[in-house]
Amino acid sequence: MESPEVIRFSRIVKSYQTGRSVVRALRGIDLTVERGEMVSIMGASGSGKSTMMNIIGCLDTPTSGTYLLDGVRVDGMSRNQLADLRNQKLGFVFQGFNLLARTSALENVELPLLYDRSGKRRDTRSVAAAALRKVGLGDRMEHAPNEMSGGQQQRVAIARALVMGPTLLLADEPTGNLDTRTSLEVMALFQALNAQGMTILLVTHEHDIARYGRRIVELRDGRIVRDTPVVGRRWAMDDLGTQPYEEALEAS
């Protein structure tokens, strides 16, 4: 039973106790993201976008409100249930790549498969290898993170996020540590994945990057202040110019 709504946030509130004062990071968020969308979340630091991302990513739980992920109510779930959700339904891409050091690309991508309790995937190595080929790193499988460029590392991270076939791909400032060209390559990869039907949520503070999505949601002081579709959406592949990124995506 696939729900057309991947995310449904109703009056989500998150407040923290820091010392004596209470920080209200999210002050009642209503948001719906449907399957196949590519949403860019924007906002200044302190706007609550990271908190929202953490709640969407089941890394954190809301103080109040209801959250349905893929039609399943998430708020009130136990730590273990959240861990299983992260494993099965969510793929994370971080600004700092967050790959395991001294560990090959293949083993990094294999990581979520090791924590898979569904028992569906038996040959974890070949599943991981297929995911790496999908992001164009078929020839870098045995390389450790320190032997790869930033763009390659981020693609390993994307392969890791995709390997379980998630419902939702979450990217937190994925281009923050990359140069312009590599950023475009990564965005082209996201757009290609989205074109294949992957729902993507992208947190960024760069307007240029945000405009590669289909919709931009802007947060300020824990509230959504703007939620607009992108008019005149650009294609990162076109922006890459003369050297298209196609060969990397051929395998997909």
Binding site: N87, F92, L100, L111
Partner: protein
């Protein structure tokens, strides 16, 4: 997550940090090696003491003058030595449980013969002495009852004396002067080594006790009477019998205390075993402390490692690891490291005891049980000291862990 996968993840993580892992293991390696060496030393000491007891002869009862039951005050003149040759002869005649008996007359004297002179222990004994002491000869013969009765001037040399006076030659047939009295050497004793108290048993000359009493001036002093029984089970009964005969020989009334002491080898053995037991406890305590220190070392490094690997833990949690997966991974890491350390320690300890055994001449075996216990215990140390850091790791909040710099 399957256990096999967890073991793989844990061992991968150990192998990827060789320096950290080997330093962590070092404490356990030293601890277990210490345990193994100490067990080997205790084992070696015990078997050495056992060998010395066997060496002394089995089924022995030793009668010495004086009494342990004397209540502080002296029993009167003559109490320091009330053993006589007649006592030994009476025992030989009357005791039913005794297969052999010999008086032992002790003195020290300068002996001259062969290459020079040598100061040594002279023991006057009966012809049964060698059988009683279970002491073979390397050459010649021992004097017999006829030699004893006719007070012949014959001597049997201990190997130390033979080596010093007659290096490289068989002294049998040669002559030896003890206090200017010429003796004929009839035999040489095999090497028996030191007693448990360190006396060289081979630095001795044996002569018939009658000869010692009559031909060598100045002694009728009998140090002890050694009797041997047919079987070791007879020892307690034989001690009773010997006491009765001795009391009769000394004409002691019913109210008078013994003026002699009868002791058997088991008492001597018990005393020696008591000493090794104390030593075992002491060494055991030291070994346990070193294992404990090794365990604390593991905990220390594991705690540091949890902090150092916060990001890794965050990544694992974000990709779907449950707290229990992280806990198990860290616990397995700690157990694998401590067990591996235990095995390495076992090898090091066994090698060290072999080397030590080679140089001391002790038989320092490592009992298999001790090996199993030491390695098992080190694994337990891993579980015990690994649990707290592992729990700390599993309780991390994924967001904080991912943000950790």
């Amino acid at each position: 997550m399957k256990t096999t996968t967890l073991v793989r993840v844990a061992t991968d993580s150990i192998l990827k940090n060789k320096m950290r892992s080997s330093l962590t293991m070092l404490g356990i390696v030293i601890g277990v090696a210490a345990v193994i060496v100490m067990v080997a030393i205790i084992y070696g000491a015990q078997s050495r003491i056992q060998a010395q007891i066997d060496n002394l002869g089995t089924n022995l009862a030793v009668i010495t003058p004086g009494s342990t039951q004397q209540g502080g005050a002296s029993m009167g003149a003559g109490t320091f030595n009330r053993l006589t040759v007649e006592d030994a002869e009476k025992i030989a005649r009357e005791a039913t449980l005794v297969s052999g008996v010999t008086p032992v007359i002790f003195t020290r004297a300068q002996v001259i013969g062969g290459d020079g002179n040598w100061r040594t222990e002279i023991n006057g004994v009966s012809g049964e002495y060698l059988t009683i002491r279970n002491w073979p000869l390397t050459s010649g013969t021992f004097f017999d009852e006829a030699d004893v009765r006719s007070m012949r001037k014959v001597a049997v040399l201990g190997s130390t004396v033979a080596e010093n006076l007659f290096p490289g030659v068989d002294p049998v047939g040669a002559s030896l002067q003890i206090r200017n009295v010429p003796f004929t050497i009839v035999g040489v004793l095999s090497e028996k080594g030191q007693t448990s108290s360190g006396t060289d048993q081979d630095d001795v000359v044996l002569v018939p006790y009658t000869t010692a009493q009559n031909r060598l001036a100045g002694f009728s002093f009998i140090g002890q009477i050694i009797a041997t029984t047919w079987a070791s089970e007879d020892i307690p009964a034989a001690i009773e019998e010997l006491s009765a005969i001795m009391r009769e020989a000394h004409g002691l009334g019913a109210s008078e205390a013994d003026d002699f002491t009868v002791r058997d080898q088991t008492e001597i053995a018990d005393a020696a075993k008591g000493t090794t037991e104390v030593m075992s406890w002491l060494l055991g305590a030291i070994a346990s402390i070193s294992l404990l220190v090794g365990g604390i070392g593991i905990m220390n490094i594991m705690l540091v490692s949890v902090t150092e690997r916060t990001r890794e833990i965050g990544i694992r949690l974000a990709t779907g690891a449950r707290g229990s997966d992280v806990l198990t991974q860290f616990l397995i890491e700690s157990v694998v490291m401590s067990s591996a350390g235990g095995l390495v320690g076992l090898a090091v300890g066994a090698a060290a005891s072999a080397v030590l055994g080679h140089f001391t001449g002790w038989s320092m075996a490592t009992p298999p049980l001790a090996a199993v216990v030491a390695v098992g215990f080190s694994a337990a140390v891993g579980v015990f000291f690994g649990f707290y850091p592992a729990r700390k790791a599993s309780a991390l909040n994924p967001i904080d862990a991912l943000r950790y710099e």
